[in-house]
Symmetry: C2
Subunit: 400 residues, 2 copies
Amino acid sequence: MAKVAIMGYGTVGSGVYDIIKMNSAKLSESAGEALELKYILDIRDFDDHPEKHLFTKDVNDIINDDEISVVAEVMGGLHPAYEFTKQLLMSGKSVVTSNKELVATYGSELLAIAEEKNVNYMFEASVGGGIPVIRPLNRCLGANNVKRIAGILNGTTNYILYQMIKNKKSFETALADAQANGYAERNPAADVEGHDACRKIAILSSLASGKELDYNKISTEGITNISLEDVNYADSLDSVIKLIGYAEFLDNGKIYAHVAPMMLQKSNMLAGINDVFNGVLITGDCVGDVMFYGPGAGKLPTASAVVADMIDSAIHRSRRAIIGWKKTDEDIAASTDDKKFRYFVRTTSGGVSDIFGNVTAVESLVEGENAFITEALTASEMAQKSQKLGNIISSIRVFD
Amino acid sequence: MAKVAIMGYGTVGSGVYDIIKMNSAKLSESAGEALELKYILDIRDFDDHPEKHLFTKDVNDIINDDEISVVAEVMGGLHPAYEFTKQLLMSGKSVVTSNKELVATYGSELLAIAEEKNVNYMFEASVGGGIPVIRPLNRCLGANNVKRIAGILNGTTNYILYQMIKNKKSFETALADAQANGYAERNPAADVEGHDACRKIAILSSLASGKELDYNKISTEGITNISLEDVNYADSLDSVIKLIGYAEFLDNGKIYAHVAPMMLQKSNMLAGINDVFNGVLITGDCVGDVMFYGPGAGKLPTASAVVADMIDSAIHRSRRAIIGWKKTDEDIAASTDDKKFRYFVRTTSGGVSDIFGNVTAVESLVEGENAFITEALTASEMAQKSQKLGNIISSIRVFD
């Protein structure tokens, strides 16, 4: 019997509770022992809850209880989640989390404490919601040097872009629609400006390389500038526009990473990921391309990943699982000029080939503008040429 | 340092060798210790091999060497792979395999021996080649009761169907093409008649339920009867035809399973899996739909999965990983009448609605024939009605 606790009884926390109750037989089978829920930490009152005796407002009840071996941190936010997690790990308890911000910000430190205390700090639910991706990347692809990770990592922006693509809605209408459906927050900046996807590609990159990639060093661009015309141009090129978290592991040992809208051929598996779904395409030097697809958010899907980590932590109580990365002094972030992309460009200027040289012309869909695809360029080259040409309406990286 | 051996130096075996040599640093990092290859078993001579001293023709060299802890069985075929695996497990060594026939046929017995001897018998490479699917199903979805598994599990048939869909080739031409490209054997029966996919869905079903599903009890139909007209009809319905290994976990505790061509809407993620790629769609009661996609065969992809199991076996030397299923006296195979499907039907008979009742008419693409989609029917109902109607040209289950 493993005794466990939940910290935070919001959407994901109540999902974890539901799964522990609903699927207790399956959990016992998977873990080889029952998981018994002993505490739920939340500052709010839940007097009508059928198991109100489980609730506490004092984290010390959990920290000081030697019976507790695994704790699910599903509070979200940096504080006090960071302090609580640290204290729990220090007191020899494993912690599992869905908190991507915490993992991306304090992951190296928390992983080091877990290693020192011989317990687990697991975070399957922090990327891709219910999709198994952290453990497959770490374990099942353990024979591979990872060459590239490219993912649709944010369901809100994928929903908005899908509405633009499928129902020809404008960005503003699609966003309002997402908000009305509960897929986007009233303040949607973290999603639509790419910050959420940035934390997630940082976690995946750190895990694949074994070294911390600081998310502050990842060039991040959202979808707020994508227009219906861009989407239509993409369609005319048998492509779609998706917000991609992208990381390439370069031969010089550094990681090139960005979050940006990219134009993908419809035959690309990532192009078929619609609505609020997420998908992660991983390229290994032995396996080639593999993709993991599923619900990137939601109460039970995310809780499913949290509980899978609780099971794994219970199994690995006596011997911790090797998962995570270390902080190094070395700066592993590549320069944005270490990687070239082709760009789809719209402009009202003429004389394109004088500045961009060989380009592939694209049939114009808007009177008075030129559209084309460049040869592969670094970010600096693209910036210089764009400035020189002037009157750039859009420039979007092509996913090759 | 974990000392390991390879049994069988064919395509996959030489891929395992290549990965152990090529990616030794990555392997050490993933396993927490180096993997040292001590033997390669093969009955053939490899006198020109740079490490010819590793080769042996006598399996007892491996069985009797106490230093060996993990062995990759990549010989294929039932015998002597079965006898060798059994002896190795009995002597306390972990065995990992890509041999789906062996796992589907003797899995329960070999898993029980592994459990008794406290070693691992792992088989990630037996389904989906390089795609991580066995471990994610077992571990990452451990909080879920699995409701359904549906997969494109055979690359050869998927290639043939894709050539029919994309390039409008006939079955015969597409098969000849697959043979010319090395994707199909000279005797293609195991692939095109669905036997290979049958072994694989049996393995996935057994793993998900924890109980052995006998592959002999799985209704298996290949793609030899699929014509270019069927493919064109599917296209007219915004669908494609794929060979699907299908398993549904019924509320009565039994498993309904089949291998058969099915008609899928193009918006279904499985519909986008082209060429020789494989994909497995798993529905859990908490997570909903997740899909795993990638190369279902090939030297390095398959070897990548074998080596991942070697790493995991090395990590779990002192404490075995919980993975597998048990043989039970209970018959867990559902009757083919425990599950209803809609069917796409072509016939030259009239009077369809007199026999099939409410049907959805499909515009005829061939003069003199009627095409329609039935309501959901059991296999017996479908057989009876088809016999009564007569002159059935095709009947293909619809994937709902």
